[in-house]
């Protein structure tokens, strides 16, 4: 398995632990991963709001870089918003072939040409479908026995351009979590929205959305997620949500590769669990000594 890694802005900033643990876990699983050179922002939800063309050109710039240096390696994205932008751009080029010409007129100033051949993969897709569950289970040194985990997929991980799971009732994480020895807490908010930027622009609404997810996950010992935006919202606003709900609510939120790394016995330097706002220590205390 060989991948060209597009970290995206969060995974080298606020969610550095996500990018770092992703690389560590893929290495344990025997994958060959290299970071894409000279990548730039995918445009997030902002570029397409500023202009249609900008919303295609910013993702296409990175797709063109992958095409140029990929050598048959697939593009790996860890952020669901980046992933959606790359997939949305690919879909637009397929449905309107003349777009590629316009995109290339823009990319000319960057010295790039895109031929429309790249399809980004999400980390969850790669973990769930490129590796056998037996291979994952075989790497476990510290089984997560006794740990109940609430999977949280978020919205853009599974829709609308994502072909690898159900777009409303996803299940990709279940097999992986069970292979690690954990018990899975299924709930009704697994693919609902974390509120994204509403936590900044319309906090009263965003906090309600985060609160609903946290309450659904409460029976579990921790939440596991695969998107830096989801993680930021679920991990950082628990104090404010507790005030809103009028009762204390505190549940650790881990990235999936961090939890896998814990089970694989990887060190803190690879997992960076201490960066989270809600301490992960109660989860660690529940695990057997490695």
């Amino acid at each position: 398995m060989r991948y060209l890694f597009y970290p995206g802005c969060s995974a080298e900033g606020s969610a550095l632990e996500y990018g770092t643990s992703t690389l560590a876990v893929l290495e344990v699983l025997g994958a060959e991963v290299e970071e894409l050179q000279d990548w730039t922002c995918c445009g997030a939800s902002v570029a397409s709001t500023m202009s249609d063309l900008l919303g295609l050109v910013l993702p296409a710039r990175n797709l063109a870089l992958v095409e140029q240096s990929g050598n048959g390696r697939e593009m790996l994205a860890v952020c669901s918003a980046c992933y959606t932008n790359f997939r949305r751009t690919a879909a637009a080029i397929v449905s309107q072939p003349r777009l590629l010409d316009t995109i290339n007129q823009a990319l000319e100033v960057e010295g790039l040409t895109y031929h429309g051949t790249v399809q980004a993969r999400h980390l969850l897709d790669v973990l769930a479908n490129d590796f056998d569950l037996e291979a994952i289970a075989a790497r476990v040194q510290r089984p997560l026995a006794g740990l109940t985990v609430a999977p949280y997929y978020g919205c853009q991980t599974v829709r609308p351009y994502s072909p690898f799971d159900d777009d409303q009732r996803p299940t990709s994480m279940v097999g992986i979590l069970e292979a690690l020895g954990a018990t899975v807490h299924r709930h009704n908010y697994e693919a609902s929205c974390c509120g994204t930027s509403l936590l900044t622009t319309k906090p009263d609404v965003g906090l309600q959305m985060v609160g609903a997810i946290l309450e659904a996950c409460e029976p579990a010992d921790c939440i596991v997620t695969v998107c830096p935006m989801c993680h930021m919202n679920l991990d950082s606003y628990q104090d404010k949500v507790s005030r809103l709900l009028g009762r204390p609510l505190r549940i650790p939120v881990l990235f999936l590769p961090q939890l896998m790394g814990l089970a694989f016995g990887l060190p803190e330097s690879a997992l960076m669990l201490r960066r989270h706002v809600v301490p992960v220590s109660p989860v660690l205390a529940q695990l057997p000594e490695s």
């Binding site: 969060s10 730039t40 445009g43 397409s48 709001t49 910013l58 316009t102 960057e110 609308p160």
Partner: protein, 192 residues
């Protein structure tokens, strides 16, 4: 506009070409049968001044001002649940992106707490090529309500303490990393 407000069809200004301006996705709006699946599915609908269903009906009928001045679109977090559930196959989420785009272009002044978000993000992206989270938040709060930043001060300090946020000096002069690409896109958009 409050949802209970009565619209007088004979006096309110309508633009029958409004739906065409929402191309390509918006043209499909004529398919909408007002079933309300979008409203029932939307996690933010309870906080909207117009529900998604009402907004699509107003758009179909060309009530441009009522739609573009509403708060509803700014509560959309692009979760695509209406898009995947729409029984008529209308790409509703991307039509909302188009509505936001028109509202920004027309300089609609309400909901500045949302519109400033897009401008600040775009400026940082253009300057550095990648997001700088702290500079973006500073620019955003300066453009909206610097006092509101106080509500985030405790969290900000926690994030700095955990190493999740980094202070970097802004680079003010000189060419931005994506200036030329942004300029070329603007030229090309002008041509189309």
């Amino acid at each position: 506009m409050a949802t209970s407000e009565v619209i007088n069809l004979t006096t309110v200004k309508r633009d029958p070409t409004f739906v065409d301006r929402l191309t390509p996705a918006g043209r499909l709006l004529s398919r909408c049968i007002q079933c309300g699946t979008c409203t029932a599915s939307c996690p933010a609908a309870p906080a909207m001044d117009l529900t998604p269903r009402q907004m699509w009906r107003l758009a179909q009928l060309g009530f441009q001002d009522q739609v573009l001045h509403s708060k509803a679109m700014w509560l959309c977090s692009l979760c695509y649940i209406c898009h995947v559930r729409c029984p008529r196959g209308i790409p509703l989420t991307e039509t909302i992106v188009k509505l936001k785009q028109l509202a920004l272009q027309e300089g609609i002044g309400e909901w500045r707490e949302s519109t400033a978000f897009y401008r600040a993000f775009s400026d940082v992206m253009r300057r550095y090529g990648r997001m700088r989270e702290i500079e973006f938040m500073v620019r955003y709060f300066l453009a909206t309500n610097p006092l509101a930043a106080l509500g985030y001060a405790k969290l900000g300090l926690t994030l700095l303490g955990r190493g999740k946020a980094h202070l970097e000096l802004p680079r003010l002069g000189g060419e931005g990393r994506l200036d030329r690409l942004f300029e070329r896109v603007a030229e090309l958009e002008g041509q189309r």
